[in-house]
Point group: C3
Chain length 366, copies 3
């Protein structure tokens, strides 16, 4: 139907609507306030002292308590949804995500995306859109820069597809490119009693695994409140009437919700990982639904110095979140069968309880 | 019982307690903050740029992002409940509701009501109370003025009733009386990419119908949080123990919740309708319950110039909200039967899915 | 297991880890803002004018609307959980709790605890820890001081126990020690129309009972949001996966949630009890679960002058909260059987509907 009403409401873009090199300015700019901080606190319960306390943040060198990095991420991400992923089948991955400037309550965030890759799928029904999105504050500084790729439906299977173009993306952000959103801190002023753990950067070893121990059950009201807080309009999160007839029979929880839950759980074992400075990659391995209880564990993949900085070090973490499955034994992959000589967790397929596999860099005081 | 305790807790007013011309000052004054804005954002997810972004609001002529108009309405309305409608059977209608001054975070709102009409019902068990309520800010300016009428129980069926007096209420607010809460705006500075739609005032035609497309499921925790945020104490919204034995067997969602949901959904098709300037009338056609999914569509009833203003125009909208019923075919009334020569939607009775029929004026930039 | 990961995540303290005289500084400092006020408002719906309105608060002598006293309590309490009660079986009681300084939005709260008593239980599996906790603001002033005692598991039944030492605690806070968090107020400026009730301090009699009339149903999303808002990490509130196999088969609502619900309900009958100045004692008589509807009633136990102050008086209240049981007949204790010559409510055991028995002091304007 091409009625006037159809023309006025937003049908979203389909795969054939995107062009390589296209730039999209997104609605709606959003002033993020201490109100948003409190709602986020109520929904996830983070305990990192830098984001929780103005006094603590000032003592180490911030102007005041900055916004939780993931709140910034979700708000910027949310803006891209009506233009990029309203007709998405799946959010496939993230890469090269960097936090570039501290964001404080009162900042107004807006977002801009560039289409950097397109590849039609063999079935001609869908294609993959690679998009680099950037978030800006009210003075025009870029605060966040990341790439994601999504599988988007075609409006018309017969529509011609552009030549496939897949961007070359880094497996991980280089240490030299980390730390833009972290001012020079006074590591000695970082009170490890107040921050909740004596373990600083130097106390973690590569290969170390940490069970974050706690579990948190997700409610429908919670994930919808969070997702609306970000002005993320993806329909699968909100509409039980339609989803009851869909693939899962119920509303799907926004993938970013699992990231925020895992980050909040990770305080228990990583209390001084005060800043997520980059996300190297992430995969929503399985869908999350209300009623499930989320657990998480982390492995230290790398420990890196930041060139020119002796205040903080960077840990590259892999955090795995599960549903309805405690993580004391670090569930990840399924075992190969005995015929393959397998032992626990050495196969290619994820344990069915795993919902998130996230690779990211955090900063810790030295 | 006339025990001291009964005397201390508020039994609410019954029909025979009201007098024509009576004026009631309501408790509790309420400072509305960016915190309330964030909770409202989480509960409804509005995306109108003016209320979302201080930077956007300033660019067009506001001092900063004003409060959502409906948040102001609900807070003022909430104050009137303990005095006006604690013993109400039904909230019957609204008229002549005008927003008179922009309200910014930090304002303290209070409310005052005048009883402007009374009419006992034939059954002598209830009567209708017509009340004009006004909301004031901390400097004493009136920010909101509206009439509603409610059916209120009598304490004693035999109590004498005052002579019936029904106020003369306008079918719609005159365009000359609109716009008090909207400063002169710079329509050219209203960036329609950031606001989410290229369609300005001149792009809408009278008679045009818009399906707002999306649906949102309501949770008990959500509507109770919203209604408590407004300090609205109507008992039917909160008490499952009592309501489980009542008419519906469950808690009833505050009617204003459906209005806020419909307004937020209406962004999809009316993104530049940045300000609700008046409500001409409204009817809660059927009750809403948690678990239902709300959809909405709108029809443009009128387009009006505002005398002396060339920055904005007013659209008179009729927005219909439904439960568990998408609105692509604009559900409203039931068809007459074939014996009456009927076609779809030409009868007097509402489609059973309709929950709200709201007639209001919005402003759009020219 | 003494793996590195176990060493990094917090197992909490067990009974044998505490020492008499031990002082514990708690993580995480927390800046409490108008955002937290709004979330708390949405979750509990308090209507006390002093905390609701900056204008009202200023008119009587506050700098602005102070934080709800119980929000301050819960935030300070929450900080103590990871160190004191992560391995608690039960929170047994409170005593000598005093609010010492008004706390305004923007304050940063931190907490410190002293172990003032220890007593192993006869079964040698658990012991009781008596702890005095204090909350401080960002300038180091003590804003809250209270004692609680909790039953904590032993890690090892065979671990030696310290000699039993039980502190001497007052049955109630002396009137001379009340009022520290209440500035001298202008009682004449306390507008009893705006505050919602004409009843001032002098209008209440000792022995008077007040049914707070309303009931409010608790949802899982609500109590978890509240408890996360306080950064309270007690596991039983959040983890349905684990609790489904536990004693109750479901998540337990934080005891403080019932206190906040009862306080909000108590507005209906105690609207001018604008400040909780002390808590003499409290008992969580029975667990509360989502889905239950909470009711409350209060009895005036004492009315006291505050030495040197003629602006306010103190009422000592006993507030009883119930689940799924209205309070018009003031349920409290079970009757003795007829063989004992009993009448209603004269036994020692609580009515099974009672969940909270709280003894506290409030201030009211004269």
């Amino acid at each position: 139907m091409s009625s006037p009403s159809a023309a006025k409401s937003n049908p979203g873009n389909f795969f054939e609507d995107f062009r390589l090199g296209q730039q999209i300015r997104h609605a709606t700019p959003r002033t993020v306030t201490v109100g948003d901080v409190a709602v986020y606190q109520g929904l996830f319960g983070p305990r990192f002292a830098v984001q929780s306390s103005d006094a603590f943040a000032r003592a180490i060198g911030y102007a005041q308590a900055p916004l939780d990095d993931l709140l910034v991420f979700h708000v910027v991400f949310g803006k891209t949804v009506p233009d990029i992923s309203l007709n998405a089948v799946a959010n496939l991955g993230y890469a090269d995500c960097r936090f570039l400037k501290p964001v404080y309550p009162g900042a107004t965030l807006s977002a801009l995306s560039d289409i950097i890759g397109l590849r039609e799928n063999a079935n001609r029904k869908t294609g993959i859109v690679y998009v680099r999105s950037r978030g800006f504050d009210q003075v025009g500084d870029c605060v966040l820069d990341y790439v994601r790729w999504v599988m988007v439906r075609k409006r018309d299977e017969n529509a011609p597809a552009p030549p496939a173009q897949v961007p070359d993306l880094p497996k991980a952000v280089e240490p030299a490119r980390l730390g833009g959103a972290c001012p020079k801190i006074d590591a000695a002023a970082h009170d490890t009693v107040l921050s909740g753990s004596p373990h600083r950067f130097g106390d973690y070893q590569v290969g170390e695994k940490i069970d974050h121990a706690d579990g948190v059950t997700v409610e429908e009201a919670e994930h919808m409140m969070a997702t609306r807080l970000y002005q993320n309009t993806a329909r699968v999160h909100f509409n039980q009437f339609t989803e009851s007839k869909g693939r899962f029979g119920r509303r799907l929880v926004y993938g970013g919700h699992a990231i925020s839950l895992a980050r909040a759980l990770s305080f228990n074992g990583l209390a001084n990982a005060f800043h997520v400075t980059a996300i190297n990659g992430g995969r929503h391995v399985a869908p999350l639904f209300a009623g499930c209880t989320v657990f998480a564990w982390s492995e230290v993949l790398e420990a890196a110095d930041l060139p020119g900085r002796n205040d903080v070090g960077a840990l590259r973490l892999r955090t795995i979140a599960t549903k309805d499955r405690p993580c004391a034994d670090f569930p990840l992959k399924l075992a190969l069968g005995p015929a393959e000589g397998g032992t626990r967790g050495d196969g290619d397929d994820y344990d069915p309880a795993v919902i998130l596999d996230l690779d990211y860099w955090v900063l810790m005081p030295r």
